[in-house]
Symmetry: C2
Subunit: 188 residues, 2 copies
């Protein structure tokens, strides 16, 4: 119990995703997750408040990275370019986690409550990105619009990344989706 | 009870929105809504399945109008232009309902469960618009992207329409938001 548990968080995450897929999110208990990971329930609760937090971490590194990237983008950058660069950087962060992200999407798609939670997370992210743009002096409606549209673009790239077997990384797919946005918006 | 009740649906809707704002959505009962509208509970249930359906009608005329407008837009129209035209048409439909829409937004903003429901409604609408584009031969990712981005644009225009006192109608604000999208996407 007090002993050192290498990669405990990752092992718990992997075990949880496996069980959520095998038996459903509702049916899985923390006890089962800990057992599958070869760890104790106490260790689980050192890393996660409950089984939902495995899917929706409270302090998301992705969210911090995103807002930080907008804050630090060059003052000369156009709003949509700040958002695009931030989302590409976030995509690079997730690069190594494609298989986990894919499993997570399967679990979320199978449960209405989790789908709602995911939509709320994305809406919150859009609101925070809009706020980051306002801190840079971008006025509304441009700030809200660039943030909401940016998240919509990211969502389509993310869905592609977790559903296709292509070679492209999330960062590249985000970039491609912003290029595609320029094309469809220009009426091509 | 069996007598003719002029504008019963509108009266119930207005009474419900008033009560949701005054006492909160959770605290309001169907009995109170019917009483405020000067109608019976039986009449309420002829129009709405429950008190949530006042805010989220099962068969939304807006949704039907939107999907219909995409289906019927000229085959030559670019995907984003089909979506933009459909959302402008939907905006025109809502024109007379600004005060109700405004009250509805206040009620929804005050309740987490209703905010979730609203996000789900918008996500469903985006999925249906993407499907309508696919029926016209638009491939993915362009179809998903144009639909998701279109809904994001509509959301910002709708928020502006219900929060500001300007003279512009929703249809005009949707058009302006799509123009703004072109500007921010082109990097202005």
């Amino acid at each position: 119990m007090g002993r050192w548990e290498p990669n405990a968080r990752e092992r718990l995450e992997q075990a949880a995703l496996e069980l959520y897929r095998e038996h459903g999110f509702e049916q899985t208990t923390v006890k089962e997750i800990a057992k599958r990971a070869g760890l104790t329930e106490r260790t689980f609760f050192r890393h996660f408040a409950d089984k939902r937090e495995v899917l929706f971490p409270h302090a998301s590194p992705l969210q911090e990275a995103l807002v930080g990237a907008v804050d630090e983008s060059p003052q000369s950058a156009a709003p949509m370019d700040s958002i695009s660069a931030a989302l590409q950087a976030a995509g690079a962060l997730l690069m190594e986690r494609r298989e986990l992200a894919r499993q997570r999407q399967v679990v979320i798609a199978a449960n209405a409550e989790l789908r709602e939670r995911e939509l709320i997370k994305l809406a919150t992210l859009a609101a925070e990105l809009a706020q980051a743009l306002r801190r840079r002096g971008v006025a509304d409606p441009a700030a809200s619009l660039a943030a909401e549209v940016g998240i919509a673009v990211f969502k389509t790239a993310f869905e592609r990344w977790t559903s296709e077997d292509g070679e492209q990384g999330l960062s590249q797919l985000v970039r491609a989706a912003f290029d595609e946005l320029k094309a469809v918006t220009a009426g091509k």
